[in-house]
Structures are given as C-alpha cells and as structure tokens.
Point group: C2
Chain length 292, copies 2
C-alpha cells in the first residue's frame, strides 16, 4: 500500500492517528500550526509542509483533526477546498457542530469534493491500542473509500447515514454522556466518602458490576482519587463540546437539563484555574461543594 494522505492537525489525538497511518503504510504529508509537533513524524517518514494547502493533492484524500469549528473553517478555506477539487475526499475527524459539517459539506460539493464527518471516540492511548470507535456520515460512495483507511486504527465504525452532520451529533451526545458520567461518579463517590466509605471501595464495586464499562472503569479511577493528570483532553475543549451539544439541542428544541449542569461544572472548573488538568476534573466540583 502506498496511498497518499494529507494530514492536518497534530494534537493529542492527531499525532497517534497519523502515526498509525504511517505504520499502516500510507505516505503522509502533514501540517500543524506549531510545526515543531511534526518532528517525531518526520522521523517516521512523513513529509512536513508549512501551509495546510500545500499538503493537499487534487482528487486526493485529506484527514483533519483540528481543535474546533473556527479552526476547521479557517483551514478549509474556499481556496483549499477548490484545490482538493473533483474526486477529493475530506475525512473530518474533529469534534465540531453538525451545522458546521453541513455547511462545509456544501462547499465541498460546490468544488466536486466530498466531505465525510468521522469523529472518533478515543483517548490518545486508545488510538495507539486500536480500540477507538468512529461515527461516520456523509455520501455513501466516499464512505466506502475511506472506511478501509479508518479501519486500520479503530475497533468499530458506526454509519449514521448521509447527513454530514449526523456523526457530529452522535459524537456530541457521546461526549455529553461521558461528562455526565464523570459528574455522576463525583456526586456518588463524595456522598459515600462523607459517610465513611472510601471512594476506592465504592468505585471498585460499581465498576466491577453495574457500571463495568471502560468509561466508568478508566475515568472512575481518576474520580476515585480526585487526581486529574496527565491531561489527555483539555477542560476548555470539554466546555467547547458541551456548548456545541447545548446549541445543537437548542436548535432542535431539545432541553437538556443535565447538560446544563455539566456546562456549569466546566465553567466553574475553569474559574478555579484547573485548565492545567484533564477535562475529567469537572468531577471535582462535587467534592468542592461538599467541602471535601
């Protein structure tokens, strides 16, 4: 295999994804705003470019893993999408709003390219272990082309149809559920702790039984210890995601009181200068409130 892929965005998630693709035999041309982050990939054989548009080949494939809606819209300028052009496919893995995906999809259509939303559920170590999962949506023909590329580094790909925004909706719903699980454990473990039960012992019972799922087992360890380092996903990005969730819900007339609560926890965590901690530090709010 020697297919070429343009790869934009080498953050906490982008880097291990790019590495996996190189290991799988793809020829990568990478771009990142902070160019120094590309160095480890250069050693693996990736070509580095100074401007995102220089990575693009007309009719080729580009994967983007960028921070938020604004960055995706900035990088995927008319000029860049025009260069991607006829037959080109953009695999957009960033967690952005479904509305942005739908707008970008129209712009891609205009230039004969195809936009596929493919956000990934995975922390960096899950990408390395190949156990992440992707929600995908967009035009059927392009999805069939990109699925084999994605299959190399995830466990499952779940198809949500042709609406390019659909996969983003699923990703936002899932991130909301993860954040809600953190708050839930924060409240439950703190109630137990203040009743003389160790956070560790209730964590162990519940995550070995009713809540024996990765989210509770892995994040629960952090909540049990109230230790939220190292940072795998920034608090500010957690707030961004829950804001997108609430906006998407509001656009469809769906009140989400639990998501409102989570949003306030993120805001409070940032107010307490916890932006140097992992997003799961939102669970510390319950301890703070209880004077624990």
């Amino acid at each position: 295999m020697s297919e070429k892929i343009a790869f934009l965005g080498l953050g906490n998630l982008g880097t291990p994804i790019a590495e996996s693709l190189i290991n799988a035999g793809y020829e990568l041309t990478v771009w990142n705003r902070t160019a120094s982050k590309a160095e480890p990939l250069t050693k693996l054989g990736a070509k580095v470019v100074e401007n995102a548009i220089d990575a693009i080949e007309t009719g080729g494939i580009v994967i983007s893993v960028l921070a938020d809606d604004a960055v995706v819209e900035e990088i995927f300028s008319m000029e860049l999408v025009e260069k991607l052009g006829k037959g080109g496919i953009h695999i957009s893995m960033s967690t952005i709003s479904p509305e942005t995906s739908r707008q970008l999809s129209q712009i891609h259509d205009w230039y004969g390219a195809t936009y596929i939303a493919a956000p990934i559920f995975a922390r960096p170590e899950a990408v390395v272990a190949g156990v992440g999962n992707i929600a995908i949506s967009g035009k059927a023909a392009a999805k069939e082309i990109v699925k084999p590329i994605l299959q190399g580094f995830v466990k499952g790909i779940y198809d949500f149809g042709e609406d390019p925004g659909a996969a983003n909706v699923v990703k936002l719903a899932g991130n909301f559920m993860i954040a809600a699980s953190l708050e839930m454990m924060g409240e439950a473990f703190t109630m137990a702790e203040k009743n003389g039960i160790s956070r560790q012992s209730i964590y162990e019972m519940l995550t070995q039984t009713l809540f024996a799922a990765p989210i509770f087992q892995n994040y629960g360890k952090l909540v049990a210890n109230n230790v939220y380092e190292p940072v795998a996903f920034k608090l500010a990005l957690g707030l961004k995601d829950i804001n997108l969730t609430l906006q998407t819900a509001s656009d469809a007339n769906v009140p989400m009181p639990m998501a409102d609560l989570i949003r306030n926890r993120f805001i409070s965590a940032l107010a307490k200068k916890r932006d140097n901690l992992d997003w799961s530090a939102l669970a510390q709010g319950a301890s703070d409130d209880a004077g624990a």
Copy 2:
C-alpha cells in the same frame, strides 16, 4: 443442607430470592402482607405464616426484603427482635436509609441479635440468573455466617465494613447512578432523534462501545424505544430511593445537583400518572420536554 430461614417480604425481588433459597435446599418459613403472593412458594415447600413474628425462630436467621423504611420499622418491632434474640441474625436486604439501618442495628444489639445490611443490586430476572450483586456491612462474625447463604444466588458480595449503614449508602449511590444513566440516555437519544438520527442507532453504537455495561445495554433498550413496561421496579420506589439519597447526602453536607434533577423527573413522571410504568420511565421526561 436443611438450615431454616425466616423470609419476610415477597415482592418483585423477594419472591425470586426466596425461590433461589428453596432451590438451594433451605427450609423457608415465609410471610408477606398480601398472603396470596406466598402461594407459588407453598408449592415449592415453603411454610407460610400469617404474622411476621411467627416466622421467627430464636437464635435463627431472618431475611427481609421490604418496601421501605416505614415497613421495615413496623415489621421489626421490639417484640419481633426480642424473639429473634441472642444469636439471631437479621439479613436486611431492603433499600432503606443508612440511618434506619444504624437504629435497627442498635435495637438488635440490645436483644443480643445482629443486624446485617445486605441490599442487592438486581432486577428480578437477574436474581433468577444469579447475576445480582450485594453490598454488605455489619458485624464481621455474622457476615461470615450469612455470606455462604447469599453466595448461592448472587455473582458478587462486596464488603463495606462494620457500619451497618454503609451498605445502604452504597446501594443508594448505585441506584442514583442508574437513575442518572436513564436521564442521560433520555437527553442524548432525544437530541439525536430530533436531529434525524434513530434512537435505536445511537443506542447501539454507544452501548456496544463506551457504555458497554449492563445498565446501559438493558435500560438503554427501554429508553431507545420509550417503552417502560413491564414494571420491574415501581416509579414511586424510585422516588423513595432518590429522596433517601438526597437526605443521606444532606445529612453529610453533600450537595448533589444531579440527584436533585433526577428527583424532579420522578415527581413529574408521577404527576403524569406514569405510576403504572417501570421506574425507568423517568427517561421519558426528556422526550416530553422536547415535544417528541
């Protein structure tokens, strides 16, 4: 094996537990307020008594699976506990407040009996399948006697020390987390649905991946379909549990905003006359709010 056990309370959970004990070879004397519910057990060889106290043998073992604090306090009168007397052990499996457990424990101590809190996490079908889990707390010596009895019909027994209220705290925390999971799915699935994604498809992805735990897989099916029948656990009992959770939390100065939200969902579900549905019907609140 032909040990005798007094068994009080043949509700949705009590009945399959009693059946499991009979099948395991125990000689059961059963009592239930509505005597007709004991009939199926009579056929299996259980002896039925008209008054709870008549089931008690001095120095013996009694298991109770009753509806709430008030019923447990009513049935476990001074007179009954006195009859249980020296060497007697009460395995209290009801979901009641830790405070009630602590008070009852003192009364048992007074008469030389021992109170063990052993609430079970299981829906009726889980008892039949032997996959429930028990949180246990109370005096060590009595726990060693009762564990072999309980092991016959559950998967795991988790020991939370000598405080007779501890196991109840864990049970309340766990029930809160289940209820919060229901609300979480209600909000997430409704947001997806109103964005053109089927509730079934998002349910499938999330419960096969990040949330691959029994709570999400089993209850998620009900939430995906917005169908909350048959009743395995009554809505009114769900409200009772969350009220106990909030009281226990408040007694220990622990604010639980997510539990507050759940409480209001239960109240609203009862206001909407859903008391003929399973407690998981609380998840329908998100759909109602969205006019779905």
